[in-house]
């Protein structure tokens, strides 16, 4: 009995609960919706139906689930030439680390439901969000496949470009309000206005950084199929590939939640009250809905844009988006002085 109690304690320990429930279960649903939307929206732009016959009542919503189950039961091939330990472990670690930032994100202003003390939560979340991509580079390296290595190198180039942009842009709200407390940032947005209006430059830079970091179009360069097949994942099959693909979407989801909190007003306009429903569930749903919208917009770019060349994407990142993020940060500091 005490073991069960211990397990329950561990599961309901707020950071772990948040990572496990919101991070895994909810994000799986959101990833399914996003992939479905990505394929359906592209199909609509391209004047066709998209996935349909798998579940005609739901308009093909179960398609990503069918793909996932199929991947789960396909043979996971581990070629003789790979570095097997890293090959197996890296994608799993990448997937777990992708949702770890959720352990530091508040979904409500009610202190009873904060996962951790909120003093430096923004810094913690940003720091945790930068670890996962390293493991994608590692997957490419462990595969010992030429395409995977090229893809991994591309991913490394992209990391150096976008991580800085993401951090600088997301620190702009903190600069305005002189706090790293995400709850304070959201609360301040209630009295002022949302940061998407207050600091649109930082928002644009942060959004582009999210698209770049998760290999969304037009920055889908590490997995650019016409040169490097599936990029770092070229040798992966079965469930390991599913985990890899999922990790990408999970990271996009985690970063989208950060954007929703920092720039889109978090749980506003809902004011969290007391109790589980009013204090935690409803604000969480609002935040998740906002994050979903960010994800869907990022997914929709697939239908409109081709992909940039690697050097063009890096040039764009360093020459235009990074200065944009810096200007956003400067704007945040100026606003701080004005307030």
């Amino acid at each position: 009995m005490s073991l069960l109690q211990l397990l329950l304690d561990i599961v309901f320990y707020p950071p772990i609960f948040q990572v496990l429930v919101v991070g895994l279960i909810v994000s799986l649903i959101i990833v399914v919706i996003t992939i479905w939307f990505e394929r359906k929206a592209a199909a609509r732009v391209q004047r066709r139906l998209g996935p349909y016959h798998v579940s005609p009542q739901l308009g093909g919503l179960l398609q990503p689930l069918a793909d996932l189950v199929r991947y789960a039961f396909q043979e996971p091939i581990i070629p003789r030439t790979v570095d097997a330990a890293i090959f197996v472990v890296a994608p799993v670690v990448a997937a777990v680390l992708s949702i770890i930032p959720l352990g530091a994100v508040p979904f409500t202003s009610n202190p009873a439901y904060w996962p951790i003390p909120m003093e430096n939560s923004l810094l913690i979340a940003l720091a945790l969000s930068t670890v996962a991509p390293l493991f994608i580079v590692l997957t490419g390296w462990a595969s010992n496949n030429k395409f995977a290595v090229i893809g991994g190198v591309r991913e490394a180039f992209m990391i150096t470009a976008y991580e800085l942009i993401a951090i600088v842009a997301m620190l702009a709200p903190a600069a305005t309000l002189s706090t790293f407390n995400m709850v304070d940032i959201v609360e301040a947005q209630a009295s002022l206005t949302w940061f998407i209006l207050l600091n649109p430059l930082a928002f644009i830079a942060a959004f582009l950084a999210v698209v770049m970091s998760t290999s969304g179009f037009p920055y889908e360069i590490p997995e650019s199929e016409n040169e490097v097949v599936a990029g770092p994942y070229s040798e992966y099959s079965g469930i390991l590939y599913g985990v890899n693909m999922g990790a990408n979407y999970l990271r996009r989801f985690a970063l989208s939640i950060l954007i929703a909190i920092l720039f889109l007003g978090g749980w506003l306009p809902v004011q969290p009250g007391d109790g589980l429903v009013a204090g935690y569930l409803i604000p969480t749903i609002v935040v998740l809905a906002k994050a979903l919208i960010v994800m869907l917009v990022a997914s929709f770019l697939r239908a409109v844009y081709a992909r940039f060349r690697l050097d063009q994407a890096l040039e764009g990142a360093w020459k235009y988006v990074f200065p944009l993020a810096l200007i956003g940060l400067g704007l945040g500091i100026i606003e701080n002085l004005l307030l």
């Binding site: 004047r47 030429k146 090229i150 889908e220 409109v304 081709a306 940039f308 060349r309 690697l310």
Partner: protein, 415 residues
């Protein structure tokens, strides 16, 4: 898949090497990547690419994965059976590919198709050209990651495939031109359908410009990439939109002046930039010209009486019932005489302009029912040097952009 033994010192005695393998040493900083044949960016061939950093230093196309021995098979088959054989070369451009062969045999036979047949051939050729250009666009779109471009152009291509299907009865493999004529006349209601398709395509082309050519990402990917200067293009003997994008004003339709083209009013678009974007623009402009030609052909055919679309030498041999059926429905029954057609001895060369460029046939007859020798040089095969001479020096991600813009089709190149 690499052969470690192929990496030794070049020995002068080794004459027959593995296909595509150069016997060579690899410098340490150069990365050798085998792109294809199972690769989303290769098509039906292998590109042995050597990369230094992100820059391609050497590329060695290893083709032949679709070599179906057409030249040899043609020597064993009757003349008429070779038409469907050759059309498998560029299956989505079937009429353009077979017309020069038919013309070469017609030169040997000494027959000239009547004007109606010529117009019908030109009509189908232009429909095919549009469909093939749209196919090329689609492949190009998917190569640079623009899936909407692929879907749009493949969707619009169906309009012209439908048009060709209405005219000939087959989606792609029409086998339409035969010696001295064509296989079928224009069916009822075809002119309206053709005009509707032309109107539709004219409406769509500005939308293409909007989503594709004015898209900053696409322009970045194509502009200034794979520049082929005019002199180099001529030396390499490039053909079609690839040559015309490098300001070579050459089109076999004018140079040879076959079928109805001397009587039709059209222009040859030429761009001077020589980059991937110019090659793509050439195709857009050619689609516009082809739409004009379709309209001209349809109006010409509509206003003329239905008369035999077959050379009198053959047409007179058909029974009266067949002629009556033709007058009523436009259908022509293929004469059995073609099955054992003896062609007078001689040699003939004919060239024609397919969507990808000039195709040239050499047909030699020894007087029997089968050709003694047929030599085909297809446009894609002549565009092959682009990989070897133009791509090196570009970045890895430029390879698909150049590949897509020269619209290389391996089954055509390998024959």
């Amino acid at each position: 898949m690499k052969d470690p033994e192929a990496r030794e010192e070049p020995s002068s005695g080794a004459k027959i090497g593995l296909p595509g393998f150069k016997v060579r040493k690899i410098e340490e900083e150069v990365y050798e990547v085998f792109i294809g044949p199972q690769h989303p960016g290769s098509g039906h061939m292998r590109l042995i690419t050597r990369i230094d950093g992100d820059v391609i230093v050497d590329i060695d196309p290893d083709i032949g994965y679709v070599h179906r021995t057409m030249e040899k098979l043609a020597e064993g088959r009757e003349y008429i059976k070779n038409i469907p054989l050759f059309e498998r070369m560029a299956i989505h451009d079937a009429c353009n590919v077979t017309v020069p062969y038919v013309r070469a045999v017609e030169k040997l036979l000494g027959v000239d198709p009547p004007p109606r047949a010529k117009y019908l051939r030109s009509l189908l050729c232009e429909i095919n050209r549009i469909a093939a250009h749209l196919y090329g666009f689609g492949i190009m779109g998917i190569f640079i990651g623009h899936s909407t471009m692929y879907m749009w152009s493949f969707g619009d291509r169906e309009v012209f495939i439908d048009l060709a299907e209405r005219l000939t009865g087959a989606r792609q493999t029409h086998s339409y031109p035969v010696f001295g004529g064509v296989k079928r006349d224009m069916p009822q209601g075809f002119p309206e359908m053709a005009r509707k398709a032309v109107r539709y395509m004219r409406k769509r082309l500005p939308e293409y410009e909007k989503i594709f050519f004015e898209n900053p990402v696409v322009r970045d990917r194509l502009e200034g990439v794979g520049v082929i200067p005019r002199q180099v293009a001529a030396e390499l003997g490039l053909v079609g939109p690839t040559a015309r994008g490098s300001s070579i004003k050459y089109d076999a339709r004018l140079a040879e002046g076959y079928d109805a083209y001397p009587e039709l009013d059209f222009e040859i678009p030429v761009y001077t930039e020589g980059d991937s974007l110019a090659r793509t623009y050439v195709k857009i402009e050619e689609i516009k010209q082809s739409l004009n030609i379709i309209e001209q052909c349809v109006s010409w055919l509509e206003t003329r009486e239905r008369e035999a679309p077959m050379h009198p030498k053959f047409w007179e041999k058909s029974p009266p019932l067949w002629k009556k059926v033709y007058q009523e429905t436009g259908r022509i029954k293929l004469l059995p005489i073609f099955a054992s057609l003896k062609v007078p001895p001689g040699r003939a060369v004919a060239r024609g302009e397919t969507a990808r460029g000039e195709i040239i046939y050499y047909v030699e007859s020894d007087g029997s029912t089968k050709p003694y020798r047929v030599r085909i040089v297809s446009p894609s095969f002549r565009n092959l040097p682009v990989f070897k001479y133009i791509v090196p020096g570009h970045r890895v991600m430029d390879l698909p952009a150049i590949y897509g813009s020269i619209d290389y089709f391996p089954p055509e190149a390998d024959r």
